[in-house]
Amino acid sequence: YVYFPGRPRWTRDVPLKLTYAFSQENLTPHLTPTEIRRVFRRAFGKWASVIPVSFIETEDYVVADIKIGFFGGDHGDGEPFDGVLGVLAHTFSPENGRLHLDKAETWAVDFDKEKSTVAIDLESVAVHEIGHVLGLGHSSVKDAAMYPTLKPRSKKVDLYIDDVDGVQSLYGTNPNFTLSGLLASETSTNLAD
């Protein structure tokens, strides 16, 4: 795992509470708001289970710590998106909190329903981008959630030991976290795969 240069992190008191909100005008036509909220709640939950941080959804996009939206092309942050596939999403380092997804992608939560050959799993990208929101850079470990590439129609939603080591070195360990629990989930995922 790597940090960002200067090792930026959210510097409030532990246990850390971060709010998140969605830009209601900037969602994706491929999923309902309910599906999007459910996916992100699950993705935040993965990180909250390993570090003493809780994520609370709010309606107030302006005030929220983490601001999530789907944007197309040039959307004013100096890093325009590039259409279908290519760059899927990007995030800013702490304590900025902006998490942007490319509106041009065919976002999916269920590949049994979404048959497109270029469908991208929203939960896999959400887990990855939340890692950046917290202060992790890209990992060279292919099984890690923080590995930079993702094939269409593939899923990678669980944290790998490399992700957990990195984020716990920034924020400490959730008192309810057990390494055996993580390894068990990895094993079950591998078996499922």
Binding site: D77, G78, V84, V87, L88, E95, G137, T149
Partner: protein, 92 residues
Amino acid sequence: RNPSQFTINPSPDVVNISEIKRHLHRFGYLPRNNNDSDAVSFEQALSRYQKNLGLPITGKPDSDTLSHILLPRCGFPDDVEPKTTAFHTGQK
């Protein structure tokens, strides 16, 4: 980019050197003003890319590397230099 480029197993001739350089620049491996004669830094940049992506480090645009260059990915640079501005705003 149209999806036809992104077959899972692209043919190496789909990607040319300038596209590889654009990719390496985009994700923090090459400076913007890298000129064509600077072959050494191209090979070094490619080796760093291969190391960061957990690929065999050859310094050459082999098919494994080309396949990864064509995969969809996160827009965050891999090699984030402190001077990287767009994504390294830090404070609110």
